[in-house]
């Protein structure tokens, strides 16, 4: 049965893994929120500092999922985990910064330009894990469980054995990141429409 075996929600002030808060933003810190999480995890992956916010978010959530479920890496061949990500605003935040680099008297920044595509985060995760599997990034009006359910049906019928799904919306005004691992397992949370929607909202409910 297809099960969600681990998931991570990254919000403006809290980071949760499998529903438990693992990091809270220190508003007094000079570090960005993502940098705070990176430091707390003691990841030792200096490439992190070069990444844009979308890639940082995806990389961190992936590392947190691996930490919660360390078997993931060993359980699959290097091309058996498919990455299926989506968001609503593509790479708009980095696009805006890249435009600023040349509209305010400077030269276009190559280090920003290479992140002006939403699928770059998939490349960063593939590089960090040496994963050679299927990748897809879709731009959707809002989080849509059906998108992941439909595409997972296609992928898991072929060479992919597991799926890392992701919703990555990181803009100047909001941080809404949800990564989840889908595997054929006996235990976990059943991978269906209702559960996906429910887990995507983890941490929002806690605010009430």
């Amino acid at each position: 049965m297809k099960m969600i075996t681990a998931y991570c929600n990254l919000r403006a002030d809290e980071c949760l893994v499998n529903g438990e808060v693992v990091a809270r933003r220190d508003a007094g810190s000079e570090d960005s929120w993502f940098k705070q999480i990176y430091r707390q995890l003691d990841l030792g992956y200096p490439k992190f500092y070069k990444m844009d916010v979308l890639s940082q978010a995806g990389y961190l959530a992936m590392e947190l999922i691996k930490k919660a479920n360390p078997d993931i890496t060993a359980a699959y061949a290097d091309d058996e985990i498919a990455l299926v990500f989506a968001n609503a605003s593509s790479s708009a935040e980095t696009d805006r910064r890249f435009m600023q680099s040349y509209e305010t008297g400077g030269s276009p920044s190559p280090s920003l330009f290479v992140y002006t595509l939403p699928n770059i985060v998939l490349g960063e995760i593939a590089i960090a894990n040496k994963w050679y599997g299927e990748n897809m990034f879709a731009v959707l009006p809002k989080f849509a469980p059906g998108f992941y359910l439909n595409y997972s049906e296609i992928l898991l019928a072929s060479d992919s054995c597991a799926l890392l799904g992701g919703w990555l919306e990181v803009t100047a005004g909001s941080t809404d990141v949800f990564l989840f691992m889908v595997e054929e397992r006996e235990n976990g949370t059943e991978f269906n429409n209702g559960n996906l929607l429910h887990l995507s909202q983890t941490g929002l409910v806690a605010a009430y």
Partner: protein, 360 residues
Amino acid sequence: MIYIGAEVIVSPLGDNAEDNWQALVENRSGIALVPSAGFNQEDIHLAKIAGLNGPLRFQQLVIKVLSALEARIDASILTSDRTIVLISSTKGALDDNLHDQFSETCIAVMQQFGLAHLPMVISNACISGVLTLNVAGKMIEADQYEHVIVIGCDVASDFVLYGFQSLFAVSDKPCAPFDAARKGITLGEGCGAALVSAAKSAFKNAPLQLLTGTSANDANHISGPSRTGEGLVRSILKTLRYNDVLGDEIDFISAHGTGTIFNDEMESIAFSSLNLSHIPLNSLKGYYGHTLGAAGVIETAVCMQMMRNSMLIKSAGYRDAGTSQPLNIILENEPKKLRTILKTASGFGGGNASLMIRDL
């Protein structure tokens, strides 16, 4: 069986597949020198569509290509609940709305054509087009939809041009894929479309067969290809195996061939390690420039025209061998019956994708 047909191209070479085909038969390129187009007012070679100016260029192109496609299919398909439109693009309507590059176009297209579902956007850099065609085929295999209309579209923008200039990746002459003197890419704009369907009756003219393939990441670098072509090799191997096709059955390869030193070299290594070096190959970037998210769809549409017209089109801009592994690059147009073709793409983010088309 998965059918593909009703291919349409809107590009600097014309507004439909036939005009584009005529230009290719005459080896006419859509690339021209555009004065002061560059970041420091440099003159830059671009493949731009004449008359495509002002706001909503992305939307205009998508609507134009879908109107042209509509005339080539059973029109009731467009509004069917069993049909979805997939749009392959990197930057969409960036110049109209930076913060929401796709919604307005998707909604406008849905309303104008009375679509049952909102079009879905797939954005995977330069492999977007090939990937989206594969997604379309697999949606039909899984019976999620009966018909999938694939549209690939990107428009020229200062944003993308300045970006590639900042990477020193823009050629100072029309791009010359696989040539010894190649110096980088030439950017283009355009839009391609095709219908992928489970029903042969959906097409007014005879369709071809889509042999869907797979994608594979290089896991190597976000903005440069793997030296070994690892991801491209894996993608092609799986695409062959998935369809039970042998390398020797491929009559022609439509390569990615951007004209950068590293991309074209990587492809030569990948094709060589797969023992595909002897198969006639071209890059269409010398005609269309690099149209990014549209490239895979436009180039697949051209492959279909090559198959329909039994003709190999020469690889524009190529003169002297310029890769460490030899390739059989098409030097002149040549009549040839094409039964099975391979289309590949590679791009930023380490993505690689491939598909095959077979004659029926």
